[in-house]
């Protein structure tokens, strides 16, 4: 049963990992926390569902939705966040909260408050490995999350534009002096983050149903997973998400399912007590 519950935790763990990577990416590239990430995921899911409901094949809807989400992310950066000139962390934080409210209420106005079905992306038939059962959607989500995490890691560490983004996040003034177009890197970051949110939204939709509140509860868990793994670390976010999902499953099975959220956050606090930078986060010194 322990192994089975461990496997059970991987599905939600993959979802938390995707969310954690999304918020870590923004923090890594821009030094800000994006509380509108969950609602970007929600809108992306609705974009995909709307395109599919209009008559296009599912694969086409899945391909098109991330581009629409990316465009949304680019518009938010260009017309909302850039106006704040990225000077104040708290101003940006509040701005993302405001954007979150606008997104959620706009979605209610456009698509209504009820839940919508979304077609399954993976086979419904379970895979039996000995006495254990694992769902194809768990394997699929884990594989897709790992793939995109790998792509993002390569992007940030092996490509010039990725290194420019990291430099801009570390010291915007210094990066500008080195000839980096900081404004453009921030612009691109939001676009990529929104496209990534679309991937998360599409993968979540068959499980969560598409609704305006589909990402509300898990968004908090995504932040918790990012902190657990080390905020700003993409690999840390991925690992933190998986660990959080497994802790929830094991805690629910052996203590009480009603308290699984409490168990997760208690573990998070304990980890931070012993590892203030998270499991894979690195302590960085700010030089004057």
């Amino acid at each position: 049963m322990f192994i089975q519950q461990l496997l059970n935790g991987l599905t939600m763990g993959s979802i938390y990992a995707l969310l954690a990577v999304g918020v870590s990416m923004i923090y890594k590239a821009m030094g800000m926390m994006n509380f509108a990430h969950g609602d970007t995921i929600m809108l992306s899911a609705f974009f995909c569902l709307t395109i599919y409901s209009a008559g296009l094949p599912l694969w086409a809807a899945i391909l098109i939705a991330p581009f629409i989400s990316a465009a949304l992310g680019l518009c938010l950066e260009r017309f909302v966040y850039r106006k704040l000139e990225y000077g104040s962390f708290s101003n940006l934080l509040i701005a993302t909260v405001g954007v979150s409210f606008i997104m959620k209420n706009s979605a209610v106005g456009i698509w209504g408050a009820q839940k919508h079905n979304f077609p399954a992306l993976f086979s419904m038939k379970p895979i039996h490995i000995g006495s254990f059962t694992i769902l194809p959607q768990c394997i699929g989500m884990l594989a897709i999350a790992a793939f995109f995490v790998g792509v993002l890691q390569l992007f940030f560490y092996k490509t010039k534009i990725g290194k420019c983004m990291r430099a801009a996040a570390s010291n915007a003034e210094g990066a500008t002096m080195m000839g980096i177009n900081v404004s453009f890197t921030r612009f691109l970051t939001f676009g990529i983050s929104a496209a990534f949110a679309a991937v998360a939204g599409i993968l979540m939709s068959p499980i969560f149903y598409v609704s305006t509140t589909m990402a509300t509860n898990v968004a908090t868990k995504g932040f918790a997973a990012a902190i657990l793994g080390g905020f700003g670390s993409i690999t840390g976010g991925f690992v933190g998400g998986l660990i959080l999902g497994i802790i929830e499953a094991i805690g629910g099975a052996y203590i009480a399912t009603a308290y699984k959220d409490v168990i997760s956050f208690v573990v998070l606090i304990l980890v931070l007590y012993f590892c203030p930078n998270g499991l894979l986060g690195k302590k960085t010194e700010q030089k004057m």
Partner: protein, 285 residues
């Protein structure tokens, strides 16, 4: 509720759907001596507060438990159940009643797991239930989580009958599709009931609103007419007069049954067992 009772000076209020909200707002109506009728809240604790101004016109969870256990131990000849319930006043109250009545029906509750509203992953609970193999899974929750749970039951190949209450909604079949086929529930109202009044209400509602509905609609309908009946008998719209008339209500013949208020201001209703077959509600044999 403050606004309704103390600013708008309502003579009588029809209260919230959620039992948790009723528990909170009934303190306002108690202080204001304003009759409050709850047409949708089922938690047993609502009428255990000693509030003589609070009247429950919804079916009680006790009636649902009796109906469920009668069918489970009778037609299904079952004895071992697992319970999955919402972690709130509604779910906790239902689970408590299942425990209270279990001895009377010789039912053994072999496992009970809670879930939070909004949960989407029931793999932990379902894999445990599959190993424990109860005769049925009793669910005390709403359609949003029940439809997801039924889908995951199919994915994990958990072939155990599901029965319960709280999810009598047209969205159950709309969202659940093939995955809720065979699910059973107890209810005080179903369109499968051949009763003339029920069929006439169903036709009229569908014609007016072009939408389907759950049991809260007929219960609310009965509630409004109970208030009208009380005002007619009292010949007054005074709060105290309405409260007195409601306690004296005798054999009110509504859509959801012939009803009287007992000494705790609960109405007595007889529930029916229904099953989902081919996307429709049918009465269980």
């Amino acid at each position: 509720m403050e606004k309704l009772c103390n600013q708008d000076n309502a003579n009588v209020v029809i209260s919230s759907t959620a039992s948790s909200c009723c528990l909170a707002d009934m303190e306002v109506t108690r202080a204001a001596r304003c009759p409050e009728l709850a047409p949708a809240s089922t938690a047993a604790s609502l009428t255990e507060q000693g509030n003589e101004y609070f009247f429950r016109t919804a079916v009680t969870d006790s009636s649902n438990v009796v109906c469920l256990y009668d069918y489970f131990t009778g037609a299904m000849n079952g004895s071992r159940i697992a319970v999955l319930y919402e972690s709130n006043d509604f779910g906790n109250g239902g689970y408590q009643l299942l425990q209270d009545y279990a001895g009377q029906y010789n039912v053994e509750i072999i496992d009970a797991q809670a879930y939070n509203v909004g949960d989407v992953d029931f793999s932990v609970q379902l894999t445990q239930f599959k190993e424990e193999a109860p005769d049925a899974i009793f669910v005390w929750g709403h359609y949003e989580e029940v439809t997801i749970m039924c889908k995951q039951m199919a994915q994990y190949e958990v072939e155990i009958p599901v029965m319960g209450t709280g999810y009598n909604s047209p969205y159950l079949t709309e969202m659940g599709g093939e995955f809720v086929e065979g699910i059973m529930l107890s209810t005080c109202y179903t369109t499968a009931d051949p009763d003339e009044k029920v069929q006439a209400f169903d036709a009229k509602y569908t014609e007016l609103y072009k939408a389907s509905y759950d049991q809260n609609a007929p219960q609310a309908y009965d509630t409004v007419y109970m208030i009208a009946d009380a005002v007619t008998r009292a010949q007054s719209i005074d709060r105290e007069a309405i409260q007195k008339a409601l306690t004296e209500m005798k054999d009110f013949d509504g859509l959801t049954g012939v009803m009287n208020f007992d000494n705790t201001n609960n109405v007595s209703k007889t529930c029916k067992m229904i099953k989902i077959e081919n996307g429709q509600q049918v009465l269980c044999d």
